[in-house]
């Protein structure tokens, strides 16, 4: 196949799918090491309790048991670190309590690990675990933020007496108050962004292995960023130097953010494998995933929007409570702050914005980034309150948005909340989605639904996200304890084929295809001569991993930078081979050509010359063709778009059916449009899931009510319509591919689109707001609560 069929812009089939679909992927649980043992984690059944005693005697004597460890054994070992420091508005640092590997003295959420049994088989480990006698004294628990903040609430951590982790603000409060004082209308809205369980298809797993002969540790783990785990666990928890710690994240079956973080089980198997002198495998059961994978969202917000008499936005303010759970997960503090507050300008030229975020400890699983991470929360607030404003003003919601969009000629645009948007065209995506969704035919469809006894509603929402995370100096000044560049190593092999080692990590995204297309295009070689390798700290030079829709924008650019070096060196070699001046060498379509002549040398011949340097400028140039690049982005990228959804509500049962969903996105240039569409579909599935189906429920005692698929509603294929997806392109201005990222968009834009449609359908009952998910029960209750005359 010629490169142009597989190059940038081609919808090449995902090459990795053959092994995934034929059951030949290698996931962590597929790996078995010689003489391997198995770990079972004993978890707290209490949301909040003092551990009075732990008796492991019977467990240690049980068949097959090799070792039992408790919090006492980890007392001297550091806790799990938090990667982001947020300061409160009074300048004080956030309260950062220790997050022990195994709970010591106290448990803080259902699922908090208390002890671990290592045995010859998993069943023996589990049997023995039941013989551990733990004497708990239950404490009053805070199952939600309201309970945690109530006067007299029992502190989750003694260091945080009022359960407040930090009290943060962003924006100019005085300017915002002044804007509100001039407003012709102020629209107010209270809303909840419902808590979600990430539910990656592959549960988390980890294998720890220690080699006594070399003193090297290896951790196989389900991670989105193996180098980050090596740094966090090695340097901050166990004190293992990088050169003696290898972290391998092989095929990973979905992450959605939940596999970014460093988890206790990774440290447990790594540490304990040295103690017992044998490899240890731990694989989560699905019910453990529910109570130990970091959850997402869980915000409670009051928002206000000030408008002038023509519907121009004058100011926006919001106050949000953000649930941190029982401990601070790796990136938890940055989600409701720098990934949420900074997005509150949305797609709009609102001149004054202020937001306050209070982060709260509760007796629940830690909360961290989940697909979209902060940006869905910001988008939901804005797009719901704008919709409410349109309804109050009796204005077309599309028109109200159009009137307030940042105009194409205003880019680069400095928002009042720190970000500088480099480019975009929001009017274009709006026009595109109105056409795509057949806005003109809506009234006819509504009448047709009504004839069948159904209420039809139509919702619209726009979104913007900050992706391509992130410029290291910027995030460093905002509290990140790491840089957010990416690394790539391009190794041209002697016969001209290429292995790329990328610091990005694929766990479903299709990098092996997308990145290969970039390499194929740039080097002019067939895609099947390019291999993409990732997920092993001993192979990849370095990497910050995959999250925040950063892989193509940051990881892809690092590959491009390394390819630039390859081509530059190749020109030197080609010049020597063709006895021409280096400045006269051009590289195109896989050939080095002497400009203005028909003299050329193919890429493969240059590669061979680099490794068999018989005719080679050895005095001035090293042999070999192998280059590494690190790329630190200059700015975030800003994908944006507009979505339209139509729903039908059955007024008798409250059932909401999504009838159609149209998405118009601007992701900058597309490398593989088919993969991009797949990413949009997945994001929309999760976004519709949040809007209509998914919610994580704790009762007042902090017991998890939705601990399995019997009670936690995952979106299924028959819950979703066939999506209509379109793209427009404004190329990112600060990376060579002009790409912005596409992984999270659907999950960000869909929730307000769907809820706006449901509210539209219920508007004849006078319903103005519904919290997510809009389940049949909740919709029915809203209809019942409506004035009887309207029913």
């Amino acid at each position: 196949m010629a490169p142009n069929d597989t190059g940038i812009g081609a919808s090449v089939r995902r090459r990795e799918d053959y092994r995934f679909l034929t059951g030949q992927g290698t996931y962590t649980d597929d790996i078995n090491r010689p003489n391997q043992t198995y770990a079972w984690i004993v978890r707290s059944p209490h949301a909040h309790a003092t551990i009075k005693s732990v008796d492991t005697k019977a467990a240690k004597a049980a068949p097959g048991v090799i070792a039992v460890y408790t919090g006492e054994d980890f007392k001297a070992i550091n806790g799990l670190p938090c990667g982001w420091l947020v300061h409160s508005r009074d300048g004080k640092p956030m309260i950062e309590p220790k997050h022990p590997i195994l709970a010591h003295g106290k448990v803080r959420h259902v699922g908090d690990p208390v002890a671990v049994v290592i045995a010859e088989t998993k069943a023996q480990a589990r049997d023995a675990a039941e013989k551990i006698a733990i004497d708990y004294a239950a404490l009053p628990a805070a199952g939600d933020m309201k309970a945690a903040l109530a006067p007299g609430a029992k502190p989750v951590h003694d260091e945080a007496p009022g359960n407040l982790c930090f009290d943060w603000e962003l924006g100019d409060k005085a300017a915002t108050d002044a804007a509100f004082s001039k407003a012709a209308r102020v629209v107010k809205l209270d809303l909840v962004n419902n808590r979600l369980v990430p539910n990656a298809m592959e549960p988390r797993a980890a294998i720890g292995e220690y080699d006594r002969a070399t003193g090297e540790h290896t951790l196989y783990t389900t991670s989105q960023n193996p180098h980050v785990i090596r740094l966090l666990m090695g340097a901050f928890v166990l004190g293992l130097p990088e050169h003696k710690l290898r972290v391998v994240a092989p095929d990973v079956g979905g992450g959605f953010g939940s596999k970014i973080y460093h988890y206790a089980e990774e440290a447990i198997v790594t540490w304990a494998s040295k103690q017992v002198g044998r490899p240890i495998k731990w694989t989560a059961e699905r019910s453990e995933s529910f109570m130990s994978d970091a959850h997402g969202r869980d915000h409670v917000t009051h928002a206000e929007l000030a408008l002038d008499k023509d519907g121009k936005f004058l100011g926006f303010k919001s106050e949000t409570l953000a649930n941190m759970g029982g401990y601070l997960s790796t990136f938890a503090p940055c989600i409701p702050t720098y990934l949420h507050g900074t997005l509150l300008a949305g797609n709009y030229a609102t001149p004054a914005i202020w937001t306050n975020v209070k982060a709260v400890f509760t007796n629940t699983v830690p909360v961290d980034a989940y697909r979209g991470a902060g940006r869905p929360e910001a988008t939901f607030i804005l797009e719901r309150i704008i919709d409410k404003a349109a309804r109050e003003l009796k204005m077309d919601p599309a028109e109200l948005r159009r009137r307030n969009y940042i105009k194409p000629e205003q880019f680069p645009y400095q928002t009042p909340v720190a970000l500088v948007y480099d480019t975009g065209n929001y009017h274009a995506t709006l026009d595109q989605v109105l056409k795509l969704s057949d806005a003109a035919g809506y009234e006819k469809r509504k009448a047709e639904s009504k004839a069948r006894g159904k209420l039809r509603g139509r919702g619209i929402a726009s979104y913007i996200e900050a992706c391509g995370i992130a410029p290291s100096n910027v995030v460093g000044s905002l509290g990140a304890r790491a840089g957010l560049y990416e690394a790539a190593n391009v190794r041209v092999n002697p016969t001209g084929n290429v292995t790329v080692f990328t610091g990005s990590h694929a766990h479903g995204q299709g990098h092996e295809t997308t990145f290969a297309q970039v390499v194929s295009t740039m080097l002019g070689i067939p895609m099947d001569q390019v291999e993409i390798s990732h997920g092993d700290t001993n192979r990849v030079p370095f990497g910050m991993g995959t999250y925040g829709s950063r892989s193509i924008a940051v990881g892809g650019t690092a590959i491009v930078k390394a390819l630039d070096k390859i081509i530059a060196k190749g020109k030197k070699i080609a010049a020597h081979l063709m006895e021409a001046a280096e400045a006269d060498i051009e590289f195109k379509d896989g050939k080095f050509t002497v400009a203005g002549t028909d003299k050329s040398t193919p890429f493969g011949a240059v590669a061979l010359a680099a490794y068999v340097p018989h005719k080679y400028p050895l005095e001035t140039l090293e042999p070999g063709l192998d280059e590494t690049a690190f790329y630190d982005p200059k700015n975030f990228t800003f994908p944006a778009g507009s979505y339209v959804c139509e729903v039908e509500v059955d007024p008798e049962t409250g059932v909401v059916e999504v009838q159609s969903f149209a998405a118009a996105d601007d992701f900058g240039r597309l490398i593989n449009p088919m993969i991009v569409e797949g990413q949009v579909h997945g994001g929309l599935g999760q976004g519709i899931g949040q809007a209509l189906l998914e919610t994580c429920v704790y009762d007042k005692d902090g017991q998890l009510q939705t601990g399995s698929y019997m009670d936690y509603t995952m979106p299924r294929a028959d819950d979703l319509p066939s999506f209509k997806v379109a793209h427009s392109v404004t190329a990112c201005t600060h990376n060579p591919l002009g790409v912005k990222g596409c992984g999270e968009a659907g999950a960000i834009g869909a929730p307000p689109t769907v809820i706006n449609a449901v509210i539209d359908a219920l508007s004849e009952y006078g319903v103005t707001h519904l919290d997510m998910p809009a389940t049949p029960h909740r919709v029915w209750q809203a209809i019942q609560a409506a004035q009887p005359a309207k029913r």
Partner: protein
């Protein structure tokens, strides 16, 4: 899963003997679609499992006069696909087609379902709604006598269901409102007009499992139409409430599903 003794007897008599010997610690297994998952989760820990899978005579569908007899280990998929069931009691075939998922339907059985008497299962609504007769290795039990509360039935120790006999109704339909997460019935209503009168049976909603709605049956006896039961309210007091549906919502849905079932029955 804990250790347990496993038996796969080749005769009904042996099965009865083995399960009697196992006492309270024994469990009969037909399709295993409830038992195995609960054992894997360590929520059930029988010392003895007696697998009925080798008793081939227990599976099969026969039309006998004005009734359809379905063997106890007949799978949901077999009932759904049966031309006889489709011809005689279409509502029953449709109900079977709507149970669980494809895997469950190909292993789960009618006998296992009604013996388990899960309050959100579908088959109890059909058995009670059609006034079926349960045949065991010891006797025949009328549907009205069979279901005794949550996960409880009239079955005695050593008693094994062999078949369920359904009278062919004049009209019947089943309407299920699914739990959005589990897709079990939050409310399932089976309505039938039979030679013995109109029957309305509700699953998913009752605190004590499947139950009949006499007020609806009376109203429908005179006028088998959705309109006839518009005014009939079911009290919420004895209905289930959980995070998915309040008792009031379930009470409301019984009305909606019953009316839709009557309309569907034609």
């Amino acid at each position: 899963m804990y250790e347990f003794a496993y038996h796969r007897p080749s005769s009904l008599a042996d099965a009865a003997k083995l399960i009697l010997e196992a006492g309270d610690n024994g469990k009969l297994m037909a399709g295993g679609q409830t038992l195995i998952p609960t054992m894997k989760q360590r929520l059930a820990s029988p010392g003895t499992v007696v697998d009925l899978g080798a008793l081939k005579d227990l599976a099969g569908i026969k039309v006998e006069g004005n009734a359809v007899a379905i063997g106890a280990t007949t799978t949901h998929a077999a009932v759904a696909a049966s031309k006889d069931v489709q011809a005689k009691i279409k509502a029953l075939a449709e109900l079977a087609e709507g149970i669980g998922d494809r895997q469950v339907r190909h292993l789960g059985t009618i006998g296992g379902s009604i013996a388990n008497n899960d309050p959100a299962a579908d088959y109890p609504a059909a058995v009670l709604g059609l006034g079926a007769t349960i045949t065991t290795n010891q006797r025949k039990i009328a549907a009205d006598e069979f279901f005794k509360g949550l996960f409880e039935t009239a079955l005695k120790p050593g008693e094994i269901i062999t078949a369920v006999g359904f009278p062919v109704p004049e009209k019947a339909a089943y309407m299920k409102f699914r739990n959005p997460a589990s897709r079990y019935a939050i409310v399932g209503v089976f309505v039938a007009k039979t030679a013995g009168g109109v029957r309305v049976a509700v699953t998913g909603a009752g605190q004590g499992g499947v139950f009949r709605v006499p007020d609806m049956e009376k109203a429908l006896a005179g006028n088998f139409s959705a309109k006839a039961i518009e005014g009939v309210k079911v009290a919420a007091t004895s209905l289930n409430a959980d995070i998915h549906a309040s008792a009031e919502y379930r009470a409301h849905l019984i009305g909606v599903m019953a009316r839709r079932a009557v309309t569907a029955a034609g």
